[in-house]
């Protein structure tokens, strides 16, 4: 096979026009060679045999019992809760509890921990969420203009059902409840440094509100204000702001305790330095990603 032929094959495979491998062109037929004494084993395609079924059942039960036994034995050997001298009783937790309020300015110490002391971890988590959304997109995306005929018929049927069927209860409930769900989500995000919650949980509440609305009124209604372009732009802006806000610790020698933004009075809504904007960024990324999951699982597009 010449290099040019290889290249054309590779290009055709990349463009999705041909199967990649040439070895499937010739049908594979196992031969009975004199080198091997036994005949090639036939692969059964029908029902599994009775002893196979019993073998799988018994081995599954045995494996489960062994795993449960190992885990229980491990748990019994753990040190008692609150014993001094265990590795988790070190000065880090003490410092967080004693000086966290002073150093981060957040009343909710969990927020202060994950968005100030450990802000870089949270940045990685947001990026992982975005990457997950992209992977789901690669796997499940259906082009609206070139659907397979069966799928296209199903989509049309779905649209007709959604337009004609009178889902009074669901629609009225959605119209009434969605603003409150979104408002509660925004409250949880914005109050992340004062009360339990924060960017992640608030973002998921906002995403659930959007999903609820899309279930009742159709994805087309949501796509009037939130489509794929908005998803890309919002995700890019939020991740860029987060990266810019936290990368200065690299340039300042990783000692970012000296924060130029004033901490404010603990307990006020505008306090805690960078925690509030970072919470909003994380919340938006999470809300976008959750709605993207729903849209891609449901229709394959949004």
């Amino acid at each position: 096979m010449s290099a040019k032929e290889l290249w054309t094959r590779f290009a055709a495979w990349v463009n999705g026009e041909a199967a990649p491998a040439a070895r499937f062109e010739k049908e594979y037929q196992p031969k009975h060679s004199p080198l091997f004494r036994r005949k090639p084993r036939e692969v059964s395609t029908g029902q599994p045999k009775t002893y196979e079924v019993w073998f799988y059942r018994v081995s599954a039960v045995l494996a489960s019992v062994a795993l449960i036994g190992i885990l229980l034995a491990t748990v019994t050997r753990l040190p008692l809760h609150g014993t001094p001298g265990t590795p988790d009783q070190n000065e880090v937790a003490e410092r967080y509890v004693e000086q966290g309020l002073e150093e981060t300015g957040a009343v909710n110490l969990v927020s202060g921990m994950i968005l100030d002391y450990r802000a870089f971890d949270t940045f990685g988590e947001s990026c992982v969420l975005f990457l997950t959304a992209m992977s789901v997109f690669v796997l499940l995306w259906n082009d609206k203009h070139s659907l397979p005929p069966k799928l296209e018929a199903e989509r049309k049927e779905d649209d007709i059902i959604l337009a004609e069927e009178e889902m009074h209860l669901l629609r009225h409930a959605a119209h009434f409840l969605t603003p409150f769900i979104l408002l509660f989500g925004i409250y949880v995000v914005v109050n992340g440094h004062l009360s339990p919650g924060g960017g992640f949980s608030g973002g998921i509440i906002i995403g659930s509100g959007l999903i609820f609305y899309a279930t009742a009124c159709g994805q087309k209604t949501v796509s009037r204000f939130f489509d794929r372009k908005a998803f890309y732009i919002l995700n890019f802006i939020c991740l860029a702001i987060y990266a810019g806000a936290k990368s200065y610790s690299f340039f300042l020698g990783a000692n970012h305790m000296e924060n130029p933004i004033p901490k404010g009075i603990p307990g006020a809504i505008l306090s805690g330095g960078l925690i509030l904007p970072l919470n909003i960024c994380v919340g938006l990324v999470v809300a976008c990603t959750m709605y993207a999951f729903y849209a891609l699982f449901n229709k394959g597009d949004f």
């Binding site: 339990p196 919650g197 924060g198 995403g207 659930s208 999951f293 449901n298």
Partner: protein, 84 residues
């Protein structure tokens, strides 16, 4: 209050045993949602409200929706296109 915790923990064990034994996958999803809700209440009783909010939103909310959508896409729900 400690008895309420014991009750909820027993409920958790029952849910965990029940979920893989369900014949219909829809029931398994609902049992899983109940498991997550009770876990959220337990986090609240153990004074971890941040975890409780996240567990309630992710475990009982988004996970259930995604499982139901997967069942619908794979035609495992009664009353959908393939099983009328």
């Amino acid at each position: 209050m400690i008895y309420l915790e014991y009750l909820l923990l027993i409920f958790l064990i029952v849910c965990a045993i029940l979920a893989p034994l369900c014949r219909r996958l829809l029931n398994a999803v609902l049992v899983f949602a109940a498991f997550s809700t009770v876990t959220a209440i337990l986090w609240l009783l153990m004074q971890a409200p941040d975890l409780a909010i996240t567990e309630a939103a992710v475990g009982a909310g988004i996970d259930t929706v995604l499982f139901l959508l997967t069942l619908k896409t794979a035609h495992f729900l009664d009353g959908t296109r393939d099983k009328k």
